[in-house]
Symmetry: C2
Subunit: 195 residues, 2 copies
DNA sequence: GTCTATAAACAGATAGAC
DNA sequence: GTCTATCTGTTTATAGAC
């Protein structure tokens, strides 16, 4: 239940965002959304065409917020390595998983071109953004010139997404951290590791 | 529908394995399982206590098969780096995702101590197995002695699990390959990359 | 062992009152 | 705009015939 100062349509979107994060698309029923939003059937079907339409609005917003969160760190101060490290080490509610990445395991999301699009675009944007930072690091001599920036960026995004899997499997956020530290060690400028 | 030479209980388990892989636990109904297995309600509730019990049998078998598949490559011939590369590059039906890892995004699996256990044990076994190979590689001088074997292994498993996420998001198996190649480049013995 | 019948709750959506 | 019926099909399970 959200505060009364917020519109019903807004409460529906936010409730859907939460439930998609917690239970995914197939695990989320309109009834559950309505209960959480404190709204009736009529409101939902007045503002949205149905469950897929509401989910699309929720997914788009979540995607936008994820990009903003990432950009806040990746566009911040520091060397390329430091910014990537800051991104990897930033505080996360690890056991909740990634609100965007988790949707890729949802059969009805992957099947729908419309619902999958914002997921794809977001992860693609993140990979590209990281690739540009890796290239920047290569120009500064921070990363080996032999690395393929795009592939390295894919590894970084994959490590994060897979880190959530390991953490949720074990119920331990530390499993995420282990994967991240392993990656940072592999990425570390060759000059640094030695005493 | 499976061949008549196989027991009903067997067909139920195999149908459940397929559906859990395709649609996850919350997305799989007993009805869908029964249809695929060509069995009636009575058969399922005769052989299993209910959906969770049948799912447990299916998950345990899938977990065991995944370990066997991994061990076939990891315990094969070659240097540690070569065996890890063989594991990462082995043929996979990438867009289907990992039948074990995907379950971590299932709210009802993660909530159930019983259903989560085989998932956790399998990924933990894989991480440990890879860690021992990394240590072996360090002894041979193939990997830097500064690496933490456990963390490096976590990165390897995470890259694979996250690779599935990237591939499914984009609908392109190539996204998985990019992450893997990026990781292999980072892992590559320092002597190799130069001409 | 396997089948069909039955059932209470839920999923997803529509209709129409207010 | 929001609400409460109403509705069809599904989910998950039990009962009992064969």
């Amino acid at each position: 239940m959200y505060s009364r100062g917020v519109s019903t349509s807004e409460r529906l979107i936010e409730s859907t965002r939460e439930l998609l994060w917690e239970r995914g698309y197939v695990g989320t029923s309109p009834k559950a959304i309505l209960e959480r939003a404190g709204a009736g059937q009529g409101s939902m079907y007045h503002h949205f065409k149905g469950k897929p339409d509401l989910a699309l609005a929720a997914i788009r917003r979540t995607a936008e917020m994820m990009r903003a969160t990432a950009e806040a760190v990746l566009g911040g101060p520091g060397t390329p390595y430091e910014r990537i490290a800051a991104y990897l080490l930033r505080e996360r509610d690890v056991l909740r998983g990634c609100p965007v990445g988790r949707l890729t395991m949802d059969p009805d999301v992957i099947t729908s071109e419309e619902l999958r699009a914002p997921v794809d675009e977001t992860l693609d944007w993140l990979r590209e953004r990281l690739a540009s930072i890796v290239r920047e690091g290569q120009e500064r001599g921070e990363f080996g010139p032999g690395l393929d920036a795009g592939e390295t960026a894919a590894t970084i995004v994959a490590t994060v997404q897979g880190g959530y899997v390991l953490a949720r499997a074990s119920g331990q956020p530390a499993a995420f951290d282990a994967g991240v530290r392993g990656l940072l060690a592999l990425l570390a400028p060759p000059a640094t590791p030695t005493a």
